[in-house]
């Protein structure tokens, strides 16, 4: 298998060298875009690149998409296993192939910057940059175009795939879709414009010509088998881009807080399934006691997070620290109440 790949690569290098003719042969630039959808696609395609990386395992796809973010050759893409030092190549709109240098990734967002040498690029790069709140804003029900190299259907200067749909909604992954390989906990743009392997790292654009999101992995809920295409809003990428492209100093991380303590003792059962978060006891004088929680109350929500089990309550509370204020919703009998609870740190014994 390895030898086959090597042969393939030896063929592809001379092809890349003749990039200009190759590019022309596959160019459709004479056709004028008519609709807004076509205009959007044509406008943004030159800012997107194909990213090819190391493969090796059958299950790992050695391709993705990237977005040019500076004229100095910075390219933003989704950080994936296949992106490895000395083995990552970038294919520009005109079909030219460039070796990419790896910059530090952002483990929280799951994105990484690459850099190519702008001196080797014929013509000028057409970078995109996150706009202000209004420029990067989006609404549920807004039509969007998603661009990316889905399933590596496009090679060299062939145009990438465009998919069309609406913004389905805005969601926080933690609300329902907890999956291990996405650490990102901010809002995601959900869309029904299809987003498949290879599309990751591509962009999500509105019909009035704005860049609103970076395509990320399909949100695959093992619990319900529901799959949704998602994109990270561009505003959330800004701090990382500013640090590594513009060289701004990162904002100092806040000091870690002590783990939170509510004073609620949950009713727990031995067994695999975690029961709903019924209160078993409330420790006198604790934050929960001050709020008025009582035994047999059912805790159903912390802030906007639904709490369906004791396990989920622990998981969600772990996001907070002592001193934080959370909005607790609980049910007693048929009465649903809400109140604010100031988390404390656990009293020392």
């Amino acid at each position: 298998m390895r030898t086959h790949l090597a042969i393939l690569w030896s063929f592809t290098v001379p092809l890349a060298a003749q990039t200009q003719d190759f590019g022309k042969a596959y160019s459709f630039d004479e056709r004028k875009p008519v609709s807004r959808v076509e205009q959007t696609i044509d406008h943004f395609l030159p800012s997107l690149v194909k990213v090819h990386g190391a493969s090796g395992l059958a299950t790992i796809n050695a391709y993705a998409t990237g977005i040019i973010v500076s004229k100095k050759g910075h390219i933003l893409t989704l950080d994936q296993i296949m992106i490895q030092k000395d083995r990552t190549r970038v294919v520009l709109y005109d079909g030219s192939v460039h070796q990419a240098e790896l910059l530090p990734e952002d483990p929280q967002l799951g994105v990484r910057l690459l850099r190519i040498d702008p001196a080797l690029v014929s013509g000028e790069l057409q970078p995109l940059w996150p706009g202000d709140e209004q420029q990067a804003g989006y609404r549920t029900g807004q039509f969007v175009v998603s661009l990316g190299n889905a399933f590596r259907l496009a090679e060299f200067s062939e145009k990438m795939s465009a998919t069309f749909g609406v913004v389905v909604g805005r969601a926080n992954t933690a609300l329902r879709y907890r999956i291990a390989d996405v650490k990102y906990d901010g809002d995601l743009i959900l869309t029904d414009a299809c987003n498949n392997q290879g599309h990751y790292g591509g962009g999500l654009f509105t019909l009035d010509g704005r860049w609103i999101g970076l395509n990320t992995r399909l949100l695959d809920s093992k619990e319900t088998n529901t799959m949704l295409s998602a994109a990270i809003p561009v505003r959330d990428l800004l701090p990382y881009l500013e640090e590594h492209v513009l060289g701004k100093r990162p904002v100092e991380a806040k000091a870690a807080k002590e783990p939170p303590w509510t004073g609620v003792v949950l009713f727990q059962q031995a067994g695999r399934t975690s029961p709903p978060a019924y209160v078993d006891r409330v420790i006198a004088g604790s934050p929960a006691d001050v709020l008025g929680l009582r035994p047999d109350d059912l805790i159903v929500r912390i802030d906007e997070y639904s709490i369906r089990s004791c396990r989920e309550l622990r998981e969600i509370l772990a996001k907070y620290g002592a001193g934080d204020t959370v909005k607790v919703t609980w049910k007693r009998g048929t009465q649903v109440s809400q109140g604010e609870l100031v988390l404390a740190s656990e009293p020392k014994k």
Binding site: R36, R139, G141, R170, L175, F267, P275, R281, A284, V300
Partner: protein, 432 residues
């Protein structure tokens, strides 16, 4: 005459001109505000449904379904006769030093005396099964959606939301807060259920009569699963009408657990139907169709009498007469090939060889047509038949017969059976 020809030519030219209209470059930009306005109008009455607890497994050996486990029998009782929760005793104050570490002392779960406690206990044999709703599809208690039915607190939800027989149902009405909900009746054939919350002056949607829906018109499927502040939306068109024996519209907007129970609206923000998992044969869960471009929106504008029965706690099912047809008999009429012993037809004296000529005055074309006519009715509905008995010269009137609920074996999917029962597939070896 000449003038008429000129006019005709002019008309033809006009039509040709219309057909060659250039593409509207801003077509979708213009649709956006329409969609936004429809969503804004519909957002207040699309509610969030959350369920907690519940142990009943809904499962199938080789598949489905929302339908596979029969609904638990529930005696009809109006919700205001529900036992009131006993006042809670003063909580015992536990001194901090005596508190054992969290999670050491198991005790039986919920709230003695609370209304949740007197829910029916699941049967032991159901407990052992895995809560599968379709192959590879496991249902959990994610949020789903619902739609306000009346201003005094009746909420329509998908039966899917109640599959696990939850001990607690909470409904969040946007801008009004979260309410405890009591379960009332359901309609298994439409995949919907009713719950009641203690609220008044709720925003009520306008329901579109199914007869007025056009195939090809826009259909927006709203849901409340992901975000609390605004509904999610999937767009599509009405693919077909009168699915499920006239109980649902087919749409091509994605429907999934993310918007089951939510409203499917038109461009004016009026409700076309409620998104539910259904399947064409009406016998399996329908969840295997999720996100496939085949979705169903149950229509309810034409069933006010059924909603009255559901409010009283009745579990409604598809009507069943209990006849099988000779598939070789092509009509007119439907020839009976058998009548199951306990069926309504057998009890009424219908036998093999009799030909059913009309249902409530509508002439029967053939077996599938007869099944269509009967299956569009509910269990408990009366039906008049015109029957040509085997040994008699004239057709006779029968009835009214009261339809039974379709037995569960009739409704659930059998292995390899995805066609209505009235069609038989040729034997595998036939013609080879």
């Amino acid at each position: 005459m000449k003038q008429a020809i000129q006019l005709l030519t002019f008309g033809v030219l006009l039509t040709a001109g219309a057909a060659q209209q250039p593409i509207d470059p801003d077509e979708f930009l213009r649709l956006e505000p329409v969609l936004q306005a429809a969503m804004a109008k519909a957002a207040p009455f699309v509610v969030t449904v959350e369920t907690f607890g519940g142990t009943r497994a809904v499962l199938g050996v080789d598949g489905p379904a929302d339908g596979d486990a029969p609904p638990l029998p529930r005696p009809p009782k109006p919700p205001d006769e529900q036992p009131k929760p006993a006042p809670l005793p003063e909580p015992p104050v536990v001194p901090p030093e005596q508190v054992p570490p969290e999670g050491e002392q198991p005790k039986p779960v919920p709230m003695p005396g609370a209304p949740d406690a007197d829910k029916e206990k699941p049967k032991d044999k159901d407990k052992k099964k895995i809560p599968l709703v379709a192959p590879g599809f496991q249902q959990t208690q994610g949020k789903t959606s619902g739609v306000v039915l009346t201003a005094d607190g009746w909420i329509l939800v998908s039966r899917f939301a109640l599959n696990l027989d939850p001990t607690t149902i909470l409904i969040t009405v946007p801008g009004r807060g979260t309410f405890h909900a009591e379960r009332a009746g359901e309609d298994t054939s439409r995949g919907i259920a009713l719950v009641k919350i203690a609220a008044t002056d709720l925003p009520v949607p306008e329901f579109v009569e199914p007869a007025k829906v056009r195939v090809g018109q826009f259909a927006f499927a709203l849901g409340r699963t992901f975000a609390a502040d605004e509904p999610t939306v999937h767009i599509g068109i009405v693919s077909a009408r009168r699915r499920q024996f006239g109980r649902a519209l087919q749409i091509d907007a994605y429907t999934s657990p993310a918007n089951y129970g939510g409203a499917v609206i038109d461009v004016h923000g009026r409700v076309l139907g409620i998104a539910v998992p259904l399947s064409p044969s009406g016998r399996n869960a329908g969840v295997e169709w999720y996100d496939s471009g085949i979705g169903f929106a149950t229509t309810i504008a034409d069933i006010p009498h059924l909603l009255v029965r559901m409010k009283q706690g009745e579990v409604l099912q598809r009507g069943w007469l209990g006849v099988q047809f000779e598939t070789s008999f092509l009509g007119p009429g439907a020839k009976i090939s058998g009548t199951p012993k306990d069926g309504v037809a057998a009890k009424a004296g219908l036998r093999k060889g009799d030909i059913l000529v009309a249902v409530d005055g509508v002439p029967v074309m053939n077996g599938p047509h007869f099944q269509m006519l009967v299956s569009s009715r509910m269990g408990g509905d009366p039906v008049r038949l015109e029957v040509h008995k085997k040994d008699e010269a004239e057709a006779v009137e029968m009835g009214p017969l009261v339809l039974a609920d379709a037995p569960w074996s009739e409704q659930k999917q059998k292995k390899g059976d995805d066609l209505p029962a009235s069609f038989s597939l040729p034997e595998k070896n036939e013609g080879r």
